[in-house]
Amino acid sequence: MRRLLLLVLAATVLEFAAFRYLHRDLFSIDAPAAAQAPVADTRQQAEAALARPYLSRHHAEALVAATDRQGLIDLHVAALARLVRDNPGDVSVMLRYADGLRRQGRLDEAARVFARVAEAP
């Protein structure tokens, strides 16, 4: 029985390690130390995170914040676009997306998004 419990414990630890490895992009973006991470690393993790078929609101927001901090404006806008796609009725997200587009210099697109915000009920 003790051997069995040890086996279960070892399997659980290994599983957690595997889980962390497979989701390392989300863990690294979400970590407090992400602000000090090299820009290249952040870019890599952000691209991996954006390639996921599913990204929770929490992780998307963390991604937006991390890319903003590191000045990765293209990924920042892509993260905001992802947020807009996943939360189509959220006006505040659309506003932030429009602002991101403006900062990136994509003024026409930004104007269109601002217009959509203005027309939103």
């Binding site: 399997a11 659980t12 889980f19 929770s56």
Partner: protein, 739 residues
């Protein structure tokens, strides 16, 4: 005579039609569900996964169709009396079974009524078996090799004998005395080639039994097959030879030189060939023989592997779908029997799908909306209801699922061998008749599955916890099914790891009065279980080293004295008795025979009779009626209680045992029948002493009417004195609890 004239529907016409209608409705709903699933809910994002799960559901539909087809019209037979013109040989095939076990079977076979000749067909070439045959006066047949295993052994005996009919018995299958009388008559129909009876088992502590002793209910894994499927096959003239407990006509086998060899399920193979040649089979659904079921999971799974592999591989030798001479219902019935053994594949899909959903986050069904849920629940309800109502109390879904879980990996192995090895014949492994040990290695796949399921749940919870996924609904459903499957796996593992059976012989729950002279006083106790090697003895006081060294077991045929060795003293029971583990010291063969006869003539029939559960509807109606009746005419509450008692009408008393007791009456098992209304004197032997009361016989029912040692009767007595005899029991119980 035409054997088909003896066929009678088990149900009255309205009930039968209602059951058939229910089956059709359930199948129609299932079909509708499958069509809906195929059109609207196969997840296009996971096409392979969706298709695999869908095909598993289609397999379920086919299984249900085959089940309802086979149980379409359940029949029983009216037994024709044998004319006496047939000569009968009885073959007991043996290879490595213990001689005492063989002795039981051979003695019971020889004691069968109807003239016959018994042969021990020994493939082990053992001098001890030859000596046993000589001692008992039966024939002994052996050979120099073991070619074709059991079938070869049987055919060797077939070639050396000449009886018109041959009863085949496995070494552990003990026949009842009336076996031949109840089966031979069917052969008056010249087209009948074989008569098969159900395989029932007397070791109820086996892997495949679950007994609720308090409620007197028993589940047997093979009950559905032998109580429903085989009577249903009988209607289609497709009941087949099951290897033991069958009588075969010699002339039907002559063209083949006996049983057809070349497969490991030669019995079914032979039956298909006989049916294709136009012979008839008969199934007699009476318990006329009982055997030993595997007591450990490893032996159980080995046996199932052999059956599954053999049944699947038959298709290489004789395909029932294309074989000439079979009727369409026979083809379907045989194919259904083979198809049944492929159930491991869909079951694995069902067991693996929920953990896979948890790990991958993909689902086979999309969208899972309220419409699908409604159709799914309607289908589930219709299936469950139809199965419960058509299975006449035999089918129990949770237990069926438990055995599916136990068998899955073995059936997968059989399917794998069927697909990869093709025709190659597997090795015939004799099922172990002894108590085995724990079966850890046999359930290793279950351990792996348990661990994988647990890790899958962990994975999903971590995903939800760390925000990797937010699909709580999907995860919840998958976790529910994974947990359900894990519960089944835990039950399987617990069964496999249960303590090893240490005894050489099976113990039977038998209350046999036991007396002993000790210190000039005759004391009375009783066994609560019994075998040829020992018993659990209930005695009014603890047996110390200077206690009795002999017991007189008051068996129905008369007392038998045995020397005893008390090997364990257990705590006091709530009824005030002291329980002792007792070993019989060097019992003589005559003593063993007397105990064995008592067990197989009285105890086993009473056990199996008492544990038969009526169908669900009957139970509901009966319980409602009883509840209403009790409200109108209150009756003293009854308590199941096994006590020794002495019954006297006039003259010498005889020993009986109680079944249950109330303040107003007692139910007894007696070797002697009495007419209703007879006034008797009954002395109940409590732990605290004897209490004698006058009583009147109000119920007489035969438990089994054809034992070698006479009959066993269930007698209902009503006390005629208004004094509560249960007072003593309750006093003892209180004392025991207080101590």
């Amino acid at each position: 005579m035409d054997a088909d004239q003896q066929l009678r529907y088990l149900d009255r016409t309205p009930v039968r039609l209602a059951r058939q209608a229910l089956a059709v409705v359930a199948l129609a709903i299932f079909l509708g569900y499958l069509v809906y699933r195929a059109r609207f809910t196969l997840n296009p994002e996971a096409p392979v996964f969706a298709m695999v799960v869908y095909l598993a559901e289609v397999h379920g539909f086919l299984s249900l169709f085959f089940y309802f087809f086979q149980t379409w019209a359940l029949c029983r037979r009216e037994c024709p009396a044998p004319s006496g013109r047939f000569t009968v040989d009885v073959f007991i095939t043996t290879y490595n079974e213990d001689v005492p076990l063989l002795r039981q079977t051979a003695r019971a076979a020889m004691a069968m009524r109807y003239p016959h000749r018994t042969y021990l067909c020994d493939d082990g070439r053992r001098p001890a078996v030859e000596a046993l045959a000589r001692e008992l006066g039966c024939g002994y047949i052996t050979r120099n090799d073991n070619r074709h295993a059991k079938a070869g052994n049987w055919n060797n005996a077939y070639a050396q004998t000449s009886g018109d009919l041959i009863l085949t018995l496995d070494a552990d299958h003990v026949p009842q005395p009336q076996f031949l009388e109840r089966t031979i008559g069917y052969f008056e129909d010249p087209k009948v080639a074989l008569v098969q009876v159900p395989q029932q088992y007397h070791n109820l502590d086996s892997v495949q039994h679950q007994v609720n002793w308090d409620e007197r209910r028993m589940y047997g894994e093979q009950d559905v097959f032998f109580d429903l499927v085989m009577p249903g096959k009988d209607y289609w003239n497709a009941a087949f030879f099951c290897g033991t407990g069958a009588v075969l006509r010699r002339t039907a086998l002559e063209a083949h030189g006996g049983i057809i060899t070349g497969s490991i399920t030669e019995d079914m193979h032979t039956a298909i060939v006989l049916h294709s040649e136009g012979w008839k089979s008969v199934y007699v659904n009476e318990i006329l023989v009982t055997g030993l079921a595997p007591t450990d999971v490893a032996s159980f799974l080995k046996q199932r592997l052999r059956w599954a592999e053999g049944n699947l591989k038959i298709i290489f030798d004789i395909n029932p779908l294309t074989c000439r001479g079979l009727t369409i219902p026979q083809r379907i019935a045989y194919f259904a029997s083979m198809f049944h053994w492929t159930v491991g594949v869909p079951k694995l899909v069902y067991y693996a799908a929920p953990p896979w959903m948890l790990v991958s986050g993909t689902f086979p069904i999309a969208p899972f909306d309220s419409q699908l849920l409604t159709i799914y629940l309607a289908n589930l309800a219709a299936m469950t209801l139809a199965y419960k109502l058509t299975s006449r109390g035999r089918g129990r879904l949770v237990m069926d699922e438990f055995f599916n879980m136990l068998n899955t990996f073995t059936l997968l192995q059989a399917t794998w061998r069927f697909l990869l090895q093709g025709r190659k014949v597997g090795v015939f492994v004799v099922t172990s008749k002894k108590g085995g040990g724990t079966s850890t290695t046999a359930v290793l796949p279950h351990f792996v599955m348990l661990l994988a399921s647990m890790l899958a749940i962990n994975w999903s919870l971590m995903g939800l916890g760390f925000g990797v996924t937010e699909d709580r609904f999907g995860a919840g459903i998958a976790i529910f099914w994974t947990t359900y499957n894990m519960a089944l796996v835990v039950a399987v593992v617990r069964l496999a790891l249960r303590p090893a059976q240490k005894r050489d012989t099976s113990r039977f729950r038998a209350c046999v009065p036991a007396t002993a002279e000790w210190g000039g006083v005759t004391r009375v106790g009783a066994t609560s279980d019994l075998s040829e090697g020992g018993c659990r003895l209930l005695w009014p006081e603890p047996i110390t080293s200077d206690g009795p060294r002999h017991l007189d077991l008051q068996l129905p045929a008369g007392p038998v004295r045995v020397a005893i060795d008390v090997v364990a003293t257990h705590r006091r029971t709530v009824d005030g008795w002291y329980a002792h583990g007792v070993r019989f010291v060097d019992p003589s063969p005559a003593t063993c025979d007397a105990i064995s006869d008592a067990i197989f003539d009285t105890v086993v029939p009473e056990l199996l009779h008492g544990l038969r559960q009526p169908p669900l509807l009957v139970r509901l109606v009966r319980d409602t009626w009883r509840a209403a009746h009790r409200r109108l005419a209150p009756r003293a509450s009854r308590r199941p209680l096994r006590l020794p008692a002495r019954l006297r009408v006039s003259g010498a008393p005889w020993w009986v045992t109680t079944r249950d007791l109330s303040a107003s009456g007692v139910s007894l098992v007696s070797p002697v029948s009495l007419p209703k209304g007879t006034m008797v004197s009954v002395a109940l032997q409590f732990a605290s002493g004897s209490r004698e009361r006058r009583a009147q016989v109000i119920r007489v029912r035969a438990i089994q009417s054809t034992g070698r040692q006479g009959n066993a009767w269930d007698l209902g007595l009503r006390f005629v004195e208004g004094v509560s005899v249960t007072a003593g029991v309750d006093d003892d119980a209180r004392m025991a609890v207080a101590s």
